[in-house]
């Protein structure tokens, strides 16, 4: 286990464990797109097996019983699963509020109607940029026109329309056009998600990380627009933590709120947790959700504050940010118990500035290396 001699927290059921509220069901790693910031693990191609319909139904039932209510069907591209309408129907029957997180690829009007009848509550369509050329380049697939059509159809059939745009150096200059596009498409919610640097985004960071000036300018534009459309469109702005001096309160605290199930049935406290060593994340084929949530080593690993090291363990802000993101600490310092290096109190904080400088140098260089697209070939090559 990297850089630590801590013993594992007890696996006994402890008081003070809160029930899960959000369930992210990653139905598959299959995806026709190739986004270079994809949050799926780099080595996803080696996880070939997928849970079957009955497994997923059991997972949904068990998690709902414990209190999960917000449900995201994600992936990969969840539309590649033939049993999606059946799972949606099962979820609706249990009382979930369910969301389809999709690239829009393969979504027809017929399917939109079928999913509505099955009880789907909303659809979140991701668009990569505000122009066809850039969208299709980033997605690694021709998809722009179809995505816009899908957005119209989602609205037409009475779903709240959630548009999601992941922001990075290749598209951040399009912020004004992205906002215009969202308004034109009639989005009810717009998620402007600054890239979080895990998975594929970590591998492509030199090419994706914008400069501080770019961030600030884009944020100003987005904030002004937020006021303009108040009452009509709700904007979720996911902050880019590389330019902050305190980390985000990751997952609202480990094992407190969020539960992710990967395509092969591995239960994860956060969708990047697969990258952490030695967690032994349990599989829903072997254990019930209740056992996993309450008793598994993985879900208890970073619960509470006992696992912390200095400067976090004696810090008076630890209840605010829980020491930040464990995956980011591990990716950037090699020690998953360390303070998130975004924090200016972390002795590793300079790695953040190094990353920013390295990205700037890459942007200014004449022969910038190309983006690594997310596909099975690259996955096998890199893992």
């Amino acid at each position: 286990m990297a850089g630590s001699n801590k013993t594992n927290p007890t696996t006994a059921l402890r008081t003070g464990i809160t029930p899960p509220r959000w369930l992210l069901a990653e139905l598959t790693y299959a995806c026709p797109l190739q986004c270079p910031y994809c949050s799926n693990p780099i080595d996803y191609a080696k996880y070939q097996s997928e849970l079957d319909t009955e497994d997923w139904k059991r997972v949904l039932t068990q998690a709902r019983k414990m209190g999960a209510v917000q449900l995201g069907f994600s992936g990969g591209e969840p539309l590649t699963r033939k049993d999606l309408p059946e799972l949606v129907k099962h979820a609706r029957g249990l009382g979930y509020y369910s969301n389809l997180i999709t690239s829009g690829y393969g979504l027809t009007e017929e399917k939109i109607i079928q999913l509505k009848e099955a009880g789907l509550d909303h659809i979140q369509v991701s668009i990569q940029a505000s122009s066809q050329e850039l969208n299709d380049h980033i997605a690694g697939t021709e998809s722009f026109q179809h995505k816009k059509e899908v957005a119209h159809l989602v609205k037409k059939h009475g779903y709240p329309m959630v548009l999601c745009v992941v922001i990075h150096r290749e598209n951040i200059h399009q912020m004004p056009q992205i906002l215009e596009m969202a308004e034109e498409l009639g989005a009810d919610y717009l998620e402007l998600a600054n890239t979080q640097y895990y998975g594929w985004a970590h591998a492509n960071r030199d090419l994706l990380l914008p400069t501080k000036e770019q961030f600030e300018q884009a944020e100003q534009i987005a904030q002004a627009f937020k006021e303009k459309v108040a009452g009509k469109m709700k904007i979720y702005y996911v902050v880019p933590d590389f330019h902050e001096d305190r980390p985000k309160a990751c997952m609202n605290g480990w094992g407190t709120t969020f539960l992710t199930i990967a395509p092969d049935g591995v239960a994860l406290p956060c969708h990047s947790a697969r990258e952490l060593p030695g967690l032994d994340c349990p599989n829903v084929k072997d254990y019930s959700i209740e056992q996993i949530w309450n008793e598994s080593k993985a879900f208890n690993f970073f619960r509470g504050y006992e696992w912390m090291k200095e400067p976090c363990s004696s810090c008076d802000e630890k209840e605010k940010d829980f020491g930040g993101c464990r995956c980011q600490a591990y990716l950037l310092t090699g020690d998953m118990y360390a303070a998130d290096p975004v924090c200016s109190k972390s002795p590793n904080h300079p790695v953040i500035q190094e990353a920013i400088d390295s990205a700037r140098a890459s942007a200014l260089s004449d022969n910038e290396k190309p983006l690594i697209f997310r596909n099975s070939k690259n996955s096998r090559l890199l893992s």
Binding site: Y97, G158, P160, V162, Y189
Partner: protein, 90 residues
């Protein structure tokens, strides 16, 4: 934004109001979010079924809970609800 007394009030079709057994609470669900309601807020929202106007909602709630003088509290809450998009008029 304020409540128009001449129009009926209905709960937004873009949100869902639901009882949560584990939390023993009514909640409002919407994309990426959830609001937990206390009992009185939930009772007010349940009256917003598209058939009642403001004065009927007040009268029905006062009768249901055998209370009077709820006008200000109910109106204030409904204004918040309207601003948040939980309810709609016309």
């Amino acid at each position: 934004m304020s409540i128009n007394p001449d129009q009926t009030i209905k709960f937004s079709p873009m949100h869902r109001l639901q009882w949560e057994e584990v939390q023993q609470k009514d909640v409002i669900l919407y994309p990426e979010g959830m609001v937990e309601l206390n009992q009185s807020s939930a009772e007010i929202l349940k009256m917003c079924d598209g058939t009642r106007k403001l004065d009927q909602i007040i009268a029905d709630l006062e009768q249901k809970f055998a209370m009077t003088g709820l006008v200000n509290d109910i109106t204030a809450f409904l204004e918040v609800a309207l601003k948040n998009g939980w309810i709609q008029q016309n």
